[in-house]
Symmetry: C2
Subunit: 343 residues, 2 copies
């Protein structure tokens, strides 16, 4: 819709070549001419046409995100918005566009394929990796730079990823509860096919094992992390003959559910029952203040978005910089939801 380079050039009595060079900072242009061009461009509100530019340069100047929507649950992961916000910030600064595809998870693969074949993106961020995730092999074959938010376990090639140390995180979380004297600790986990859920489980089991406690399958659950899921888990588990005295929750939302379930049973957090949750620092569910409501393993998913974007951009611009990986540690913050086990 805007002015074209040609028009701008004509209005200045210059060739498109010169105008292009003047605006892109090439040296072989007279400083006075450059100034004249820049001013005219400013005045005319000229912006190079994205498509034309990237056709000419061969770079899409765009990063693709494929957001899978589980066909069964129609659920979109709430951490997604904050991650996107972080990544988008970086793309903006770097002059990259973010393009989003929302696809049913059964033809997610085709979406990547399509994105690449059409040359729509220079790089891709992979969300929600499963324990077995064919996407990594697929994207490797496609030869497009990509970065996984999280990891996948069953893959034999090297690839780039950014993850939090889920295992260590949950080991520590469980340890805190053990230190408080808890022996019956429930894990309210995410879907078991998710890689992060497996790692958290390992961390949890490790901590128990180190204390010589045998895990009880009755205290282990995995499902999509909704609020009612947490609620039901609390309600049902507290009715067991030998109920848990503490819970490990996989997200703030689940923790809210737990909390509600417990409070409906007349149980007080931190006194009767303890909770440690993972906290992605979602902006509308802050867990801060002098004494945060929940004791939590904390890691900003927004910051993860920023870092992931930076890493991917680097992969795009220095193709030979090899697979990049980063493991973010979480911090363990003490809140009001934990206390010694009642004897």
């Amino acid at each position: 819709m805007g002015v074209t380079l040609k028009q701008l050039a004509a209005s200045l009595g210059l060739s498109p070549t010169t105008v292009s060079r003047a605006l892109n900072g090439f040296p072989e242009v007279n400083p006075s001419t450059r100034k004249r061009v820049q001013e005219a461009a400013e005045r005319a509100n000229y912006r190079p046409n994205t498509r034309a530019k990237s056709l000419a340069t061969g770079r899409a100047q765009a990063i693709g995100h494929v957001i899978p929507v589980s066909t069964s649950h129609e659920l979109v992961n709430p951490i997604f918005a904050d991650f996107i916000a972080g990544a988008g910030e970086i793309y903006g600064q770097a002059g990259y566009e973010m393009i989003l595809r929302v696809v049913a998870d059964d033809d997610e693969q085709r979406a990547y394929d399509d994105l690449v074949a059409r040359g729509a993106v220079d790089g891709i961020i992979v969300h929600g990796p499963r324990v077995h995730d064919p996407r990594v092999d697929m994207l490797t074959k496609l030869g497009v730079p990509f970065l996984v938010h999280g990891r996948t376990s069953q893959v034999n090639t090297l690839y780039s990823w950014l993850d939090i140390n889920n295992q260590r995180s949950f080991r520590r979380a469980a340890q805190v509860l053990l230190d408080f004297g808890h022996k019956r600790i429930a894990l309210i986990n995410g879907l078991e096919e998710m890689d992060f859920a497996q790692r958290r489980r390992s961390g949890y089991l490790e901590a128990l094992a180190a204390s010589g406690i045998a895990p009880d399958p009755m205290l282990l659950r995995q499902a999509e992390m909704t609020e009612p899921y947490g609620y039901r888990a609390a309600q049902e588990m507290m009715q067991l003959p030998d109920p848990p005295t503490a819970f490990l929750a996989s997200s703030m939302i689940v923790a809210y559910g737990l909390r509600r379930g417990l409070s409906d049973l007349g149980l007080k957090l931190g006194r009767d029952v303890s909770i440690v949750t993972h906290d992605d620092e979602l902006s509308y569910l802050p867990n801060d203040g002098d004494v945060p409501m929940f004791t939590a393993t904390r890691s900003s998913v927004r910051e993860a978005g920023r870092r992931a974007a930076r890493m991917l951009l680097r992969l795009v611009n220095e193709p030979k910089c090899g697979p990049l990986t980063e493991l973010m540690e979480t911090s363990l913050v003490l809140g009001a939801s934990t206390g010694p086990a009642r004897s």
Copy 2:
């Protein structure tokens, strides 16, 4: 990265022209040739380069969403993810790309400007309209098709929008509480500069007025809709000399906060205090079941995303179809959070 049209044509001994026409369903091509071309394209996994195509056709085949991130609160609206999921679904079916810009809200305007001047999008969806929102005038001037999710009040041109009937919705919600005998009803609203918040407030005031009840400023709050905001509102208001007996909450998250605040005071929902909330049907905060937890004015923001996308696509493809508007009614579902006022 993929095969180009030229290469495909060469491999078939045909001209690019013919191949293009064969694939795009033009009539003037021999059926047998077409079949041959289609099969070859399939085999080679050919996809037309997005940029080249849209340069040639002059259509971006993309819709822009600008997501404002309030610089002060770094908060991204949680309904955003679900709206995007709905809209993305439609774009995918229509062969449109969704491009997202995340910008600090103080240079949001420049983002639109930029998007249009670069010819990056065919249409734009405007999120989070304020009571006074300069973006509508700006986009009208730019001459780009756009649709507002929500409305804005102080604008003198016609524009396209999709909104829910916030006023009626909250009038009904307040009415339900009044019918239950409540007279002290608090409104825990969103930020006051948001258009939706004003309309909800109007509905609430209307209902009170119709029952001859004077609104009490002490029972009115507006802020970003986080969980702790709800919590504090409940805690503080219940300590008033003349506390509310019922709350009207602007989102599920706020309602959760209220619930927690009340339960910490030992008050039981539906018996001691009532809550009616608006429910956007966010996927991870479902409010369903036989008896939903909250009595709510319900409207799927995901469905809103779908409808908005369809409307905008129509505006893009039939430029003269004029401003399109749609007002979605909410349903009022009775849940466990309401009951008669205690006398």
